[in-house]
Symmetry: C2
Subunit: 498 residues, 2 copies
Amino acid sequence: MSNRNMEGKRQAVLDQADELEQLLAKVTPRVVEYIRQNADVDGSKVVEYVPPEELKSKMGIELPEEGTGTDEIVERIDRVLKYSVRTGHPRFLDKLYAGSDPVGQVSEFLTAVVNTNVYTYAVAPVFTLMELEVLRKVAAVVGFDDATMEGMLVPGGSFANFVAMVAARHHAFPHVRMDGWKPDDKPIAFCPEQAHYSLKRAAMMVGIGMNGIVGVKCDRKGRMIVSELDAALEKAVAEGKKPFFVSTSAGSTVMGGFDPFVEIRQVCDKYNVWMHVDAAWGIASKFTPRMEQTTAGLELADSCTWDGHKSLGMPIFAAAVMTQKHQGLFHAANSSSADYLFHSHEQVSYDLGDMTLQCGRRADSIKMWFAWLRHGTQGFRDRIEKALDIVDYMVARIKADPRFKLVEDPMYTNVCFWYLPPSLRDTEDLTSVYPKLGTVTSTLCRRMQEAGTMLVNINPLGDHGLPHFFRLIINNTTVTTGDMDFVLEEMDRLGSSL
Amino acid sequence: MSNRNMEGKRQAVLDQADELEQLLAKVTPRVVEYIRQNADVDGSKVVEYVPPEELKSKMGIELPEEGTGTDEIVERIDRVLKYSVRTGHPRFLDKLYAGSDPVGQVSEFLTAVVNTNVYTYAVAPVFTLMELEVLRKVAAVVGFDDATMEGMLVPGGSFANFVAMVAARHHAFPHVRMDGWKPDDKPIAFCPEQAHYSLKRAAMMVGIGMNGIVGVKCDRKGRMIVSELDAALEKAVAEGKKPFFVSTSAGSTVMGGFDPFVEIRQVCDKYNVWMHVDAAWGIASKFTPRMEQTTAGLELADSCTWDGHKSLGMPIFAAAVMTQKHQGLFHAANSSSADYLFHSHEQVSYDLGDMTLQCGRRADSIKMWFAWLRHGTQGFRDRIEKALDIVDYMVARIKADPRFKLVEDPMYTNVCFWYLPPSLRDTEDLTSVYPKLGTVTSTLCRRMQEAGTMLVNINPLGDHGLPHFFRLIINNTTVTTGDMDFVLEEMDRLGSSL
């Protein structure tokens, strides 16, 4: 190391290095032990629930005028670990994400250290290449045409759906970019009634309003009914409206349903409408041939939403949105440069920043690239197949057990079922006790949170008049069939008095 | 630890803990040494520039079918550090962010380990409280009324500006949320001509188009001219349009200009228009009384954008957007629930997820809360005051040196100047050699990138017909006056032949 400039005045840099070294020396063993505790599934709770006012005081949440030392930081990290929900615990079965892999955790640390904004190659050479490579791999998994594909990493699936709708809007109504909506436009979009709510929010944001997107009826498995879509499109056209966007689901939020993509593509072609797939949740299914029939035709879409933080162990966020057959469209739809600056998109651009609403972009490519390097495509395939095995086990268990009732045979890793307390177990026609059944689900869910031994989400299915049921998600490589047994027995323990 | 369930089947969890431990044991000393190298300002380059195709091969960018071991991961991390731009280097003076603090780096690691989505208190109790506390502190710094303030953390300043525009849209045109734009609406928005381009993109996204936002003339310091705004509003109203949003800048992107907020508030009141402040870049100025006159009236705005990752050493992203006097509006503008579910916002809600376009939200509160705990409000104040001291030094140096010419006296930490090679040094009227001056700037910038000894951005000021100049940003606590001396001499070394 050169001695120039090293006398005193560079102390600030050296202090930073020392502080990081000290912090990691103390934090690393704590975090490793914290993760190790997840192995003690019965000894460590998923959550130690504390109500807001009490938790404020336990955390010492108020921020100071004068800063504190690193020891105090470490002590507060202990409190964070103590009072947070253990999403990496094998019995956190609540959400469409769970825990994260070591390679992702270290990647996020690295992302913070290099702290680069990914807008141009000049300032982010490595991460630009990583992003393009990740997108290329994602496109291959989706089945998009590599030669006409364009994609970008975005902060989450909702944002991705929004970007896709903006792209479709630009495709159908290119004047909106400069001049806004015109009275003659009469735009209309479509999504499954069971679509993720981000589709409605996207419609709200782009200026067509929530009434500008039509919810199309689904079956109980969460699949959009194609004839209903056809009828809805026909009606809209008859009313003089211009359909520009049809969203479909690969893995609907509640039921985990996959739409019949091949048939929907035919309907979209009939009306010349953009077809989008919200595969934020279900995209991991494309890694395995076991889901081939279910996902057939997904690759025929114009655009696709992709969340690596949902089923692949990547930390939040690891999301992408992509189009095919519309290369250059993300640039055209989002660029604020004058049109004359936008040239036909003949080769891959290495400056990614002009394709998105965002200016600064976090280098999420780091965690995605490293996760793929660590596990390989094969590792992701194993991961999803293991989850599907556990789903099969759980479904068989539920079907064989009179204390439980499956809502529908699952298409994916959402296992939706009711718990039947003794008071409801002999009811012939469950529809007659739906209100009671909904109350049982909600009450048992609250007891579960208080007990903290496991977390499982609950949902109704409004469009079919179904009361609240449990939606258990298999999304963590450390979940075992033993955990499934535990869930059923623990539900009975907490709920049998209902 | 309980022995139940520990026989074999929990091995997956223990393997994760072991892998993390091994990775950190190898990565930590590398990262600490990497940061230490920044102290050797002459020995370590800011960037080792490699063109894309060559870098692909050096990085081994292609992702595999079969995964690799952790040793391979560590080896690739070495390559990432080697070929990335050193944003933490004291001579990375290029962007509105630079490096990050140790406490932020460790916080990002922690964020990945807990891997929580912040939408409800039930699943994110600690991070919900952290977010509310950070927002409370931010509001206090901005000067917003705590009692009528509402805010949220978002992924970046562009997103924040977009959210603010959507809120203003909902305030003026509440029907858009459900029914989209109507022909009679005739919405129009305003921003400084030198505003960040995200304002134009936001206009594009919300469906009024880029022509739906009027650029108002600025002076050369980057300040919007109030009489021009008044005239533009008057003209719009005379044409039957409905102004709903005026954006202002606290720290414009190029010049670092601060708009005259008090006068603009008066004009906004005259026309009953929402006033927004894009303080993404300039918000740190509110920490110091030295900027009191410059920032006067900022706190009178209806909404404000805030980036902690710009001047406060927090890793990307640490951004917020807030309103005052419109409590409940973020919920109303963004919620996709039926209207009847939205009640008046009488107490702080602990479920933050319904206020934003996003569904999943990363726990950015962790790094913001820990940074504030570590440094305190006082630490942030010291940080910005130190930067202002260095700016004063640099400005005095440039003024005293015939090789350089200041574009304008800076209002903030953007130092904008030209380098004059010997061939231009005796020119009386620089306007006569503007084309040559622009070429000198661009050429010297390219030479600088190739040399890799420092990075300084270049910009033109189109609305004043100014050719490209250097925009040097002081944004890193480790920068010294010696670095400023170095920059000037290195520019002369690289540029004297021009």
